[in-house]
């Protein structure tokens, strides 16, 4: 198999590139996700002791997705009858080094599995590799295997998450259709790094390549609500004729939405959500946000649980497990949305009020 040059340069593979390279992987993933989407099957295996799992979060503060992940992993494990014990590790998004120390700590204990949400993918590469060599390791929230780890002892058993580039493309497609491909867009960016690049830059490139839409401004919102509010306001002042403010996270969307609402320009400006938490969906129904890149959230946690179980029971696990992400917009009826959320939040339930 030949690794595309672009991927070599980048250091990691995009999901389509991986599936191009290894078509079997695509089928394996589809099959596995089928299992994830179906009801739990009780385990036959008798475990002599609970599986000890380390769950490494890169901060739980940025949206409810991580909290839902946590809940759905636990719930699915229970449903499957796999005994487990979870130890949570948390760092702030900028504490790259502390996550390194946590890896050290995990390597010193006797975990059966490690699920790591890297603070920044490339930065934690060496830690992921070290973990993988000693403990079965799942990488979450990134679906882009490192080229040079593929097929080595340092490769994690799987990557579980959402493909943010697919989310960006879904939003891009929707935006072009909605706007007719004409107009100005400004970006409110997330914390600088891979996730922001996959969400913001990918979206920007996609709309500019495929339409006459123009990206006219960026604001460095750092994923912060209040900052997004100020930034969105300033962008709206600078570009009174703007068509869309692209928000790269839920918190940013909330801030931008508040700015547009307060100015009374909600009908003139498109603001998107990113992630599709219940708050974003409610806002869509209320006529606030127009669209969101909706993550079928509990598939993510379920996939983590299923992958652990499969590995523990000696079955193969695909290199990447990407859960569905799709654009949901204001045209949907409340019933349709409820259908989506009933499924997507089947384990994590009602976190919002």
């Amino acid at each position: 198999q030949t690794v595309p040059d672009a991927a070599k340069e980048r250091g990691y593979l995009l999901l389509p590139e991986l599936h191009e390279m290894l078509p079997a992987e695509r089928d394996a993933m589809t099959a596995f996700m089928g299992k994830v989407q179906a009801a739990a099957v009780t385990s036959e295996k008798t475990y002599d002791k609970p599986l000890k799992v380390a769950l490494m979060f890169p901060s739980l503060e940025t949206s409810d997705a991580w909290a839902r992940l946590n809940l759905s992993i636990r719930a699915r494990m229970e449903e499957m009858g796999v005994p487990f014990e979870i130890v949570e590790y948390m760092v702030k998004p900028d504490e790259h080094d502390r996550q390194g120390a946590q890896v050290e700590q995990i390597l010193a204990s006797d975990f059966d599995y490690v699920v790591i949400g890297p603070t920044e993918y490339q930065v934690q590469k060496s830690n992921i590799a070290r973990l993988s060599a000693e403990v079965p390791t799942l990488v979450m929230n990134v679906v882009n295997p490192f080229v040079d780890l593929l097929g080595t002892a340092n490769q994690p058993i799987t990557h579980v998450g959402f493909d943010h580039t697919i989310g960006a493309e879904e939003l891009c497609r929707w935006t072009i259709a909605e706007t007719g491909g004409e107009g100005k867009i400004a970006l409110l960016r997330y914390i600088p790094g891979l996730i922001d690049s996959q969400r913001s830059d990918h979206f920007a490139k996609c709309v500019e390549d495929n339409s006459n839409l123009q990206i006219v401004d960026h604001f460095e919102a750092n994923g912060d609500r209040e900052l997004s509010f100020s930034g969105a306001n300033a962008l709206l002042s600078r570009h009174p004729d703007i068509k869309m403010l692209h928000a790269a996270s839920t918190a940013i969307a909330l801030g931008a939405l508040a700015a547009a609402t307060e100015r009374g320009v909600l009908d003139d400006v498109i603001i998107n959500g990113w992630g599709g938490g219940a708050d974003e969906l409610k806002s869509i129904m209320d006529g606030g946000l127009k669209v969101t890149a909706f993550r079928v959230n509990d598939d993510w946690g379920t996939a983590v649980a299923e992958a652990i179980r499969a590995h523990a029971e000696g079955q193969p696990v695909p290199v990447v497990l990407a859960a569905t992400i799709k654009a949901l917009d204001y045209r949907l009826t409340p019933e349709q949305i409820t259908t989506e959320t009933d499924y997507a939040f089947r384990y994590s339930g009602k976190l919002d009020r």
């Binding site: 739980l60 839902r68 960016r189 604001f219 306001n233 300033a234 909330l254």
Partner: protein, 343 residues
């Protein structure tokens, strides 16, 4: 007239002159209160920015944009009132973001999870804010721990508690009263600005012309002296933290109204903006000298900067650099003045 009598009488004349002054100049307390605070720097900076923006980005003066700045400024200003009191009393509160968050979560939980009436829920929110402040204040005074480190740690504690309760979840859909407080307008003026300015006026009167304000300055300026003069230094120090807690809770409710949502994360940058606004406004970082009016100006300046760097089309990352530079320049102006006065 011999030189002797000349000299004696000149001292006597001086006595009489010093004493004899009447009229409003002699009976009016100094405008800014018991201590002198230089306000020229933030005013100058605001003027410079205003002129600059008028030339470079006329949209800056659009009503909508001014209102946007006002909204930003009003939150900073509001929190700045509390922070000015804390810093003047020789303290600092680094936990305001977490207090704001925890009290909004408490408010939202009371309203939504426990179904309490709106006014009761607001009371719950304010009480939680006050209790957080009390916690800080008691640790600082009773156990004599440094403010800096107490509030640094209690930020972790309060935010942790907010997250424990709310999880990653979001509360949304609040009554109209609340959203009106956060984003409503009265005759075109945003509600948060009305609230903040009202509090600024009240706070300034107390700060500058009331016994409480005067004693507060003394508590920060020379705690030993204040204590010897029978002022309850401990009481004042605890008091400012409780006051700060309540103010942060009010800020939390306004923010809830603005976003029509409560999240347990967030409200991080607000701390830096608030402290920067207070210091830019001339309040002395080591206590004893402070000005609410200065904080008003400082808040306006900080809100303007964030807006202006975007309006001027700075690229994303240069926005940071520009904002930092403007703060530095303002304080530099101020510090020069200050130095000249003190030498």
């Amino acid at each position: 007239m011999t030189p002797a009598t000349d000299n004696m009488s000149s001292a006597d004349e001086r006595r009489a002159a010093l004493l004899g002054e009447t009229g409003w100049r002699a009976t009016m307390p100094p405008l800014l209160g018991p201590t002198q605070v230089p306000l020229a720097a933030p005013i100058a900076m605001l003027a410079i920015i205003a002129v600059g923006m008028a030339l470079a980005a006329p949209n800056f003066f659009a009503v909508g944009n001014l209102r946007a700045i006002a909204l930003d400024a009003s939150l900073i200003m509001l929190l700045g009132i509390g922070m000015t009191a804390v810093i003047t009393a020789r303290g600092i509160d680094l936990s305001i973001g977490a207090i704001l968050t925890l009290s909004s979560v408490a408010f939202a939980a009371a309203l939504k999870d426990f179904g309490l009436p709106l006014w009761v829920s607001i009371f719950v929110g304010l009480t939680v804010g006050a209790l957080c402040g009390l916690f800080n204040g008691l640790l600082i005074t009773r156990l004599r721990m440094p403010d800096f480190i107490v509030t640094l740690s209690s930020e972790l504690v309060f935010r942790g508690l907010a997250l424990v309760y709310a999880g990653g979840g979001v509360f949304f859909g609040f009554p109209e009263v609340i959203t009106f407080l956060g984003r409503g307008r009265v005759m075109g003026v945003p509600m948060p600005l009305i609230i903040a300015l009202t509090l600024v006026v009240v706070a300034h009167c107390i700060f500058a012309y009331h016994r409480v304000g005067m004693r507060l300055h003394a508590v920060g300026g020379n705690p030993t002296a204040a204590k010897r003069l029978g002022i309850s230094v401990t009481g004042y120090r605890v008091g400012v933290y409780v006051f700060m807690g309540i103010i942060a809770a009010i800020g939390g409710i306004i923010l809830t109204g603005r976003l029509d949502a409560v999240v347990a994360s967030g409200a991080v940058t607000i701390l830096l903006n608030t402290v920067a606004a207070v210091i830019v406004g001339g309040t002395h970082l080591f206590g004893g000298r402070g000005s609410i009016i200065g904080t008003l100006l400082g808040a306006w300046l900080l809100a303007t900067i964030t807006n202006a760097v975007v309006m001027l089309g700075f690229e994303a990352f240069w926005q940071h650099v520009a904002a930092g530079a403007v703060i530095l320049i303002t304080i530099a102006l101020y510090s020069r003045r200050n130095t000249r006065a003190e030498e």
